[in-house]
């Protein structure tokens, strides 16, 4: 069975079986990542271009490592996505990319819909590595993989996503993915950071953090992204930390075995108290580890298109024999 999608533009296009398939494959690749020799020859000879028009060392590095562990040739291109008059237009960027005949383009861009724009204009697969406030599908996949590892399931879990929901592509992709996999998602934040109609995506709006934490299996704290805010949405970070921050005083409201997540980078002392970020419930570094495995799974399915055995270590070699 081939993966029924040419691109990964968002979680929106993925069904529950698609998601499960990616998560299963990520588990396989996680195992590879824990071997002494982490490289498999699956995508040898394939070119992956990481086009990052918005700064994100973390995500770019994760994609780069993923590509390299699959033996693809990974090239990083960075630029400024906000250039309008000066600099190259996205159309010219697309045409230049196309001329270089890559197999996969991984795009991070500040404008929502940019991966869709590129996907319509190039012949290769496009992976959305975060577009504006729209989606960040690989982040949601790695979050789901992490949750599944710690909780053994996603179906039936209570997940609280707290922070600036309005400007968060991580929140959107997670709401879609988690609700599609059977979790119940609550979103919480100041009224200025709760977007209109978020319920239609599959979330319940909770106004107070205490209520959001109450009985939660998973607590996902979002970074307050000041640079995205067009208008002042909160008086200051001090009041925000007191009202919407997670710390020792309120973390106990969640279930005793609840896990704490954050897509990073953390504003320590703002949305997350260091004691919780570094505490025993925190799975933040597992998220980073899964980031590479999930991106390997995505690149593998879009770049190779040949199913691997999910029985473990033979993933790469199986695929190679058949390619």
């Amino acid at each position: 069975m081939t993966f029924p999608h040419r691109h990964l533009l968002g979680i929106e296009q993925l069904s529950a079986p698609d998601l499960t398939r990616l998560l299963d494959l990520a588990d396989t690749f996680l195992e590879i990542s824990e071997r002494p020799i982490k490289k498999v020859p699956t995508l040898r000879g394939r070119t992956v271009i990481n086009l990052f028009m918005e700064n994100s060392t973390r995500t770019r590095t994760s994609f780069e490592i993923a590509a390299k562990r699959l033996s693809a040739d990974a090239v990083n291109i960075s630029g400024s996505g906000s250039s309008t008059s000066k600099g190259e237009t996205l159309l010219d960027t697309a045409r230049n990319l196309e001329a270089m005949r890559p197999d996969i383009v991984v795009l991070r861009h500040s404008a929502s819909g940019s991966p869709h724009f590129i996907a319509q204009r190039v012949g290769c697969a496009v992976v959305n590595a975060g577009d504006g406030a729209h989606e960040h599908p690989t982040q949601a996949l790695l979050d789901c993989a992490t949750i599944r590892k710690h909780k053994g399931r996603i179906d039936g879990l209570e997940v609280a996503i707290c922070g600036d929901i309005t400007h968060s592509r991580v929140a959107r992709s997670n709401i879609l993915a988690l609700s599609r996999l059977g979790a119940r998602v609550r979103v919480c934040g100041p009224g200025t950071m709760l977007p209109v109609g978020i319920e239609a995506m599959g979330a319940t709006v909770v106004r107070r953090l205490d209520d959001a934490l109450d009985g939660a299996d998973v607590v996902m704290m979002l970074r307050i992204q000041k640079e995205r805010q067009g208008a002042p949405l909160i008086p200051n970070t001090r009041e925000y930390a007191r009202t919407f921050g997670l710390g020792p005083r309120n973390v106990g409201l969640a279930k005793p075995d609840a896990i704490i997540m954050h897509p990073g980078p953390i504003n320590r002392g703002v949305e997350l108290d260091p004691a919780v970020a570094d505490g025993s419930r925190s799975v933040i570094l597992d998220q980073v580890t899964y980031g590479v495995a999930v991106r390997m799974a995505v690149l593998y399915l879009l770049g190779g298109g040949i199913e691997v055995s999910t029985s473990g270590g033979s993933a790469g070699s199986d695929a190679e024999k058949r390619s």
């Binding site: 500040s110 929502s112 577009d131 729209h134 959107r172």
Partner: protein, 438 residues
């Protein structure tokens, strides 16, 4: 050349005529309407059996882009597109380069329109110099040169004191003030309507209140000044409600709606097609329902296109960066006839909204939008049964930024006459060699 339009279904909302009859055009004017009329000397017969014969359409809201942005559109191409859409009169907005804020620019547009225009062109002057929102433009002199209204369209007049003075000053010259209602603080950075769709698309929305708060403010200023006020491209349910109440209070206010705000919801923006990016933004189904109700009950007086041509330079970019606007002259009629087919409005009402309705709003020098004996022969001939598909390449406008590409529609303009001359001939039958060179 004189014409006899034979056996067409003549629909004239002003005279309440809706019957199969002949219409005789002599020396650029409608001279007789009736059955079995004798053709005058040196005339051609146009067989209109099965076709609709209506007054020429009047568009209150067109961007012809000349002077200054001729790569998007010019007076020649824009009026050709207008004639193809059934319009015999278009009112061009002031946001050209330079801005139409003084007599010299008005004169230029009027002269160019006379030289190359396929239709009548009436300029709309700016409210403020350079659309700067700070000082009043020279309305008196522009009025002498031929403007029929004033508007800073594209930009709202944010300053309430200035808006009050604009209303008072324009009233002196009998000019309606046309407002593009958009509170710039509420709308700041918004690229589509704020709704569940903008949330899903991750695009910054403008709430419909950005429009309606300015409508509400302006209506109070109208009450203060008694001036004629017209809301351009009304799009929000709340705005319509305010306007309906204002009409009940007897305020001298009118409004127009575009075909696209009646037919597309903001859901289409989720595909990031920049042809759907328009100001005001496409709204929700609830807004469309309110607009349709207002269209039927008389709160809305006119359908206007807000024909806003943009080239690929402005449109083949990220949604966030794309220019606002879509072309509309050539799709207005079939989109409106779609509402007739859906029983939202009657055919007679649809014709009114394109003709007599708009013709009464601006300060035109003549009676347009009606077919009675003696009026200028601005006539549109329509095949109401023609089914066709909108093709962006086939548009006569220089710009192709339409979200209706590929849409199957019903009803098509066969011909448009302006002052008794054929401005558009869709079938090519009217300009056969050896005939009618008069």
């Amino acid at each position: 050349m004189n014409y006899v339009l034979r056996d067409g279904r003549i629909i004239d909302p002003t005279s309440k005529r809706d019957e199969e009859a002949d219409l005789v055009i002599e020396n650029g004017r409608v001279t007789r309407i009736g059955r079995g009329l004798r053709a005058p000397a040196a005339s051609r017969e146009i067989h209109c059996k099965g076709l609709l014969v209506t007054p020429g359409f009047v568009d209150l809201h067109t961007h012809l882009r000349e002077p200054g942005q001729e790569y998007k559109e010019d007076i020649a191409s824009g009026t050709r597109a207008a004639a193809a859409g059934g319009f015999s009169t278009v009112c061009c907005m002031a946001n050209t380069t330079p801005v139409n804020d003084c007599r010299a620019v008005t004169d230029l547009i009027v002269r160019r329109a006379r030289e190359v225009g396929a239709t009548r062109v009436f300029p709309v002057g700016a409210i403020t110099k350079g659309l700067g929102g700070a000082e009043l433009a020279e309305m008196a002199e522009m009025r002498e040169a031929g403007i029929v209204a004033v508007s800073d369209d594209g930009l709202p007049v944010m300053n309430a004191e200035l808006m009050r003075r604009a209303l008072e000053y324009a009233r002196t010259f009998g000019l309606p003030v046309v407002q593009h209602c958009e509170d710039k603080h509420l709308a700041a950075g918004g690229v589509m309507n704020e709704s569940a769709s903008s949330t899903r698309a991750g695009l910054k929305g403008q709430p419909s209140a950005a429009e309606s708060v300015m409508v509400a403010r302006d209506l109070e200023l109208v009450a203060l000044t008694g001036a004629r006020y017209h809301v351009a491209h009304v799009s929000a349910a709340a705005s319509v409600r305010l306007l309906r109440e204002a009409r009940k209070r007897g305020l001298p206010v009118t409004c127009e709606v575009t075909p696209h705000h009646l037919t597309l919801t903001d859901v289409v923006c989720c595909g990031y097609d920049t042809a759907t990016k328009v100001a005001p933004p496409l709204r929700t189904q609830a807004d469309i329902d309110a607009l349709k109700e207002a269209l039927a009950d008389g709160t809305i007086d006119a359908v206007a296109t807000d024909h806003a041509p943009h080239s690929l330079v402005e449109k083949d970019v990220e949604f966030d960066l794309a220019a606002f606007g879509m072309v509309g002259l050539e799709t207005a009629l079939p989109l409106l006839l779609g509402l007739v087919e859906d029983k939202v409005i009657t055919l007679e009402r649809a014709v009114y909204l394109l003709t007599a309705g708009p013709a009464q709003i601006f300060a035109f020098p003549e009676a347009f939008g009606t077919l009675i004996e003696g009026v200028v022969a601005d006539v549109t001939i329509i095949d109401p049964a023609a089914r066709w598909t909108v093709q962006r390449e086939a548009l006569l406008s220089k710009s192709k930024n339409t979200p209706f590409h590929g849409r199957a529609v019903l009803g098509r303009v066969k011909a448009t006459l302006v002052g008794g001359r054929i401005a558009y001939d869709g079938s090519g039958e009217l300009a056969q060699p050896g005939e009618g060179k008069g």
